[in-house]
Symmetry: none
């Protein structure tokens, strides 16, 4: 079924929908017969909510597929994560919350070290620090100027990584990546991979040439490698698709950037989970869709820190009544994907979900856990379906057909 | 989601995957409130495995759709069973393990009896025995010779059924079937159904004419009816799609043929279930994917022999530790479809599945049965998803998107 069927059924409403997303929520036990992070957490509020809600397991992309943050969040908001697979350059831009325009070609840059003959000897320039990165980007910003009609921006990201933006008309992204993927050879040319990309290729050759000249006196970052070319693509916003007026509350730039790509207003000022909850409460009258993003569940999972992830879930549980007390028409508690601490990485495992609404049909789930959700009323379904369910329970979808 | 998304994510690995497939495993109780064949079987090893694994129910094609062996096995191996629906002629060729080439047009032949005016009086030639079939095929092989560039092969199958293979360039399968589907009328001509099939149609007219002449003195099989034209189609192999080095162990020719169509090496020499398990163990070091096919569950089901099917499941259960002891990274125990003895035929009911791996998240399934699997962690999903899950749990899929 086309996930976009729901777009045709959307009607306006005054109801409120809150998505509490614990990044990387799904987990695994540490030993056979053991409990997952979620199961190990003291979570009276999540359990109480699960008892009076509909629960289930969501597959971010498809069974067996481990998603990156981009596809996982697109699916959460009802965007087909494969059809809308977001280009690396755009995600890099979103990751530093860069204000992209629809004339932009976004490119990830790795600073690297080359020897006297131009051969790459270190593909990460000895992992220069972010301060050096900032200085090098400022130098390039000064040195690389192109003819009329094309603007160039160098934006530092972290360590040896930066973002290169070309802004102009008719830029194409079918260009060969210049990273040779090994040392001892020079960077590849930014050759066109289609005839339409020839003009862009020539511009990039000029950028690379001028950049090399400007970096010649750098001890480490004396060359640059280009990857993940992505022409900016405008996605239909949550307002256009679902008539929602959405607010995103997220501490990490990547998720603020993704929210902005989908037309959400992004709240500022929170640097703790507690402050994020407060921001939702403060802005509750102004918006009707709230995306509250909790990052540390994923960070602790990525660190392999089982206990740390348990503690974050407990912290969120203690704050949950602040959302419940708002009595939103629909309250969703879930994750964007699984990050089991035992794997210390994103994984393909489905994510447990609570969907609370007055119109929820009761199921038999008594606690909020991966194994209880497996027998919940939502069953197992692709995550891209969640938004349609949320809209339906918020009274925002009309009947299909007569 | 496109099942072929996983193809783009596959990475090489040294892990091992074992698929133990009990053909027609799913069943039904004999009376209201009763147990299925699987539930009736003494199966301590399957139950123990289910307790430490992920369980669920798989739909071979879609809810309500009863699959043939071709689509059911294609789905098991991750091939969309509708898009890859295998032509009748090819399945007939696979069924006798015929070595097909990509220049072949495969046609199912039914020998029939015609009267003096050429009208069909028995569409199955009085179900001649297989010995007669062999003799008739040898006679046709001798008598039917065509011009240069086209070879003809007649292969006996069973009773009145045979396989006709035309081998040459540019053969087309858009040809009218010649079986009139009733008696009292002559066979239809092998007329072209598209302009491109005209040359093939003329060749088939010549084949039919020469065959009739050669069969004129046969008491029963004095004519032949052509059905299920299928130009050989090459499927991407499991090696090409998933970088697997697969071994198939199957007693019945049909399943050996299907395995070969998908590029598996087919082990020889087993004529009992016990010997099949031994073959997997003997070859365990050489391959990384094992398809162990157990036929008698389906045969007893087709016979309507409930107790017989229970006994086969018990026999497999007793052998299961031989696979568990190998400690494969992924061990799947399931069927290709259901064959409830009370229906004495394939059915549309979903199939219970055990997926065992170190990275399995526990669910609440304590025994292996159709009803317990309904509340398992895998939930209910299309069978074509199984291969993606197996590859993920074997560490052979990389992350999708950034």
């Amino acid at each position: 079924m086309d996930p976009e069927l729901i777009d045709k059924l959307v009607i306006p409403g005054n109801t409120k929908i809150v998505f509490l997303i614990m990044d990387g929520l799904g987990g695994l036990p540490r030993e056979e017969g053991g409990l997952t992070e979620l199961e190990s957490a003291r979570r009276p509020n999540m359990n109480a909510l699960a008892r009076v809600s509909l629960c289930g397991l969501l597959d971010p992309v498809a069974p067996g597929v481990t998603p990156g943050s981009g596809p996982a969040h697109f699916a959460l908001f009802g965007y087909d994560p494969v059809k809308n697979n977001i280009g690396r350059g755009i995600l890099e831009g979103a990751g530093i919350d860069y204000p992209m325009t629809d004339r932009d070609l976004l490119i990830r840059v790795n600073f690297a070290t080359a020897d006297g003959e131009g051969r790459v000897v270190d593909r990460r320039a000895g992992r220069i620090d972010t301060e050096t990165n900032r200085r090098v980007c400022a130098k390039l910003q000064e040195a690389v100027r192109l003819g009329p009609g094309i603007e160039v921006f160098f934006e530092p990201v972290k360590e040896h990584r930066a973002l290169l933006v070309l802004r102009g008309d008719g830029l194409e992204d079918r260009i060969q990546e210049t990273d040779p993927q090994k040392t001892g050879v020079p960077p590849l040319p930014p050759a066109p991979l289609s005839p339409a990309a020839e003009a862009t290729s020539r511009i990039l050759e000029e950028v690379v040439g001028r950049a090399h000249a400007a970096l010649a006196d750098e001890p480490k970052a004396n060359t640059l490698l280009l990857r993940g070319y992505a022409r900016y693509r405008r996605y239909p916003s949550l307002r256009e698709r679902f008539l929602l007026n959405p607010l995103a509350v997220a501490v990490y730039p990547m998720y603020r950037g993704i929210a902005r790509l989908l037309g959400m207003t992004v709240a500022g000022g929170a640097d703790t989970i507690e402050k994020e909850f407060a921001l939702v409460r403060e802005n509750y009258g102004t918006y009707d869709f709230f995306f509250l993003h909790v990052k540390p569940t994923d960070s602790r999972g990525e660190d392999g820190d089982f206990e740390g992830k348990v503690k974050v879930i407990e912290e969120v549980d203690a704050l949950l009544p602040q959302l419940v007390d708002l009595e939103p028409d629909v309250l969703v508690v879930t994750g964007d994907h699984s990050t089991p601490a035992v794997l210390a990485s994103h994984s393909w495992h489905p994510v447990p979900v609570i969907l609370h609404a007055r119109t929820c049909r009761p199921d038999r789930v008594e606690v909020f856990s991966e194994r209880s959700c497996a027998a919940g009323g939502l069953g197992r379904m692709p995550m891209v379906r969640l938004m349609g369910l949320a809209l339906a329970h918020a009274g925002r979808l009309e009947k299909f057909g007569a």
